[in-house]
Amino acid sequence: MSDEANKGLLSPLRRKLLMGMAAVPAITMLPGGSFAQAPATSAVNTTGLAVTDTEVTVGILHSATGTMAISETGSIQAEKLAIEQINAAGGVLGRKIKFIQEDGASDWPTFAEKAKKLLVNDKVAAIMGCWTSASRKAVLPVVEQYNGMLYYPTFYEGLEQSKNVIYTGQEATQQILAGLNWIAKEKGAKSFFFIGSDYIWPRTSNKIARKHVENVLKGKVVGEEYYALGSTQFNSVINKIKLTKPDVIFTDVVGGSNVAFYKQLKAAGIDLSKQALLTISVTEDEIDGIGGENIAGAYACMKYFQSLDNANNKAFVSAFKKMWGEKTVIGDVTQAAYLGPWLWKLTVEKAGSFDVDKIATASTGVEFKGAPEGYVRIHENHHLWSKTRVGRAKLDGQFELIYETADLVEPDPFPKGYQ
């Protein structure tokens, strides 16, 4: 089955790969890349993972169907691209990566079942997967029990750390604090209105944001409202915004609700070029649905925008569009998903082994200089050191970079003083 998936992937690619062949000899001359010097399987795989002399199998576990498919498709595409590029550059320890894709179907127990299948039946060396917190929470006990390795791409609420997970997205404090500092300084903002979807990530993020606003910025939270996932009626909260007139609207509304929210904001006459709005949940993927004209002027705070101007990112964006079409957009999570296979490859090469225990230990300090977001490094708590950036939404659905932190921000999944 995975062979089929591979074929489907390869056939449109063949020509491009042939075109890229000229570059391959140069790349394979890099250290550790060529097949001739591949170490013996018995040495690099002592725990019975699916590793042969020429191949290593990993799992891709996202929702290809159901409500989350629209968000997770980008991650699947990014992971396939990364695997493709790693294979073209000689693979991992001389072995080509083969992937088995499973569908979590936007259903959390299905995620757990498929994760178990990948680890127990297929003996995959690593899983690139999960998107929502709920799916990660369902998969976490499975990867811990069967000692697997999960690379999780989404920005999330923190309060978690596992030997068996590498979190390639930002945890809440990394994403939020620098953004709030910036908007307080830049706009002189003192009063904030929080709006979120009703589940663990927005609630935890808003809790952190509230503590920061009240204790550090000495501002005031004038309202905090939650809406069920999938809600489309925001009129009452928009009225409250008009009454309280906050300096900043801070939102973590997710998924399809965003479309209704921004359209209703606009219809209510709230002009985002005058009213500051800071969102931590809208990436380029979401703007695709919202429409640039409805959100232009809003600020988003995350670690990656498609418009970032650096050589890594330009190469990444053009490779991504070549593989998946000109019209695709790349959001924060898609980029973080792209890091997963690369970080795993670098860690395997550092550890000189596919064994999960060795990878878990070797992860600390692994650096990836080729990341589209710029240099990243794995912290000993298995999250990434990364910069925080603020972008402003434009009419064409892209973000214009307004601000970025000077240094990498340390990940802190259990922030003291914010719980």
Partner: protein, 380 residues
């Protein structure tokens, strides 16, 4: 033979033996623990399907809200397991150790009152039966005493499913919200996660399933079962004959609820997980589909329906991650269009006559009891 020949007629006895052989012997011998655990998950839906046979197939009451009872049973079990997994030493990292992790994330600092009794396993087991039973009693009384039935009843059960989902998702500090209750570990200190525990749980579940099959068959054969069928066919005549139709309907609905709850509790144990995604409208309708595919008139058919549909779901989604939903949809449409009585109808129409002929040719004086009343034509 222990089975009374009057309790099962011959074809039912064959069905019983076949199912017992498959579940007790063939599957445990041929499948690895991972697949056996999947079968255990499928079988939890067989409990629901069994309840639907009683309530829908025989009683003619279509409930589109069985997920509610599956969920209530599952959540009762999950609350007990979650409390055990949230011991003070397991949750040291939290700001309030000793309470479930999702409460801590939602700034709840003490265990809520309604969680307290779930420290006791005896209370939990009673709650698994009584909470959904009483809830079904209340809904059933409110509806059937007012002679609400048919489509209206189906719609109301669906609304209840939607309401309960919203309640669970909204009260995430008390219920775990959309994430559900995850990371369930031990039952009275016995680890439910390793392979040998999965095998034991599988057999416990199969035994329970056969107990429920026995109860369902018993109800079917008594006068009660005949009245249910009569009610399905001609409700007014039953009422004019002096029977309280409402009470019989309430009874069938409560039995279906309790079966579903047992399934839910076994689900929490086998999968180590409970979430609102089993409570809502979609899973409730799926459960009706399992019953329809298996055959809503047939106790064994429903069990097979639950196993086969879920098996198809797993294997299709493993082989065709992008396309499997279309395949599953086609399967359902085919079943409903071509065999309205499901797989058991197919069996009764095509396979059973051949077997009978085979036996009839051997035993010329064969004369078995007639069971045509309960297995009659569909009502709706």
């Amino acid at each position: 033979m222990i089975i009374n020949s009057r309790f099962f007629n011959r074809s039912e006895l064959m069905g019983f033996i076949a199912l017992a052989a498959v579940l007790f012997v063939i599957l445990p011998l041929t499948l690895d623990v991972f697949r056996l655990n999947l079968v255990a998950k499928y079988l939890t839906y067989a409990f629901v399907a069994l309840g639907l046979v009683l309530c829908w197939g025989y009683g003619g009451i279509l409930s589109l809200g069985q997920g509610v009872f599956f969920g209530l049973g599952g959540y009762c079990m999950a609350m007990f397991l979650k409390l055990e997994a949230s011991s003070v030493e397991n949750t040291k990292i939290q700001s309030t150790p000793g309470i479930p992790d999702f409460m801590d994330w939602n700034q709840i600092t003490a265990l809520p009152l309604f969680w307290q009794p779930f420290h006791s396993l005896t209370f939990t087991i009673l709650a698994i039966i009584l909470v959904p039973g009483l809830f079904a009693l209340i809904i059933g009384t409110a509806m059937f005493k007012r002679r609400v039935g048919g489509t209206y009843f189906a719609i109301i059960t669906q609304a209840v499913a939607a309401i309960l989902t919203i309640l669970i998702v909204g009260q995430q500090g008390y219920t775990g919200g959309i994430n559900g209750m995850t990371d369930l570990r031990t039952l009275k200190g016995w680890d439910i996660r390793p392979d040998h525990a999965k095998i034991i749980l599988y057999f416990v579940e199969v035994v329970l399933l056969f107990a429920c099959i026995g109860i369902a068959q018993f109800i079917r054969l008594t006068k009660l079962g005949r009245i249910l069928v009569a009610m399905r066919e001609q409700e007014d005549r039953v009422r004019f004959s002096g029977y309280s139709v409402a009470n019989f309907k309430i009874f069938a609905f409560c039995m279906a609820a309790i079966f579903a709850a047992i399934g839910g509790a076994m689900f929490a144990l086998n999968v180590g997980f409970m979430s609102p995604s089993f409570v809502g409208i979609v899973p409730s309708i799926e459960m009706v589909i399992y019953t329809a595919v298996g055959g809503r008139m047939s106790i064994f058919g429903a069990v097979w329906g639950a196993i086969l549909v879920n098996f198809a779901k797993t294997s299709l989604s493993e082989s065709f991650p992008q396309l499997w939903l279309f395949g599953l949809g086609a399967l359902f449409i085919a079943v409903v269009l071509a065999f309205p009585n499901g797989l058991s109808g197919l069996w009764a129409d095509y396979v059973q006559p051949r077997i009978d002929r085979l036996f009839a040719s051997r035993k010329t004086k064969a004369g078995w009891t007639d069971n045509s009343v309960a297995d009659g034509a569909p009502a709706e």
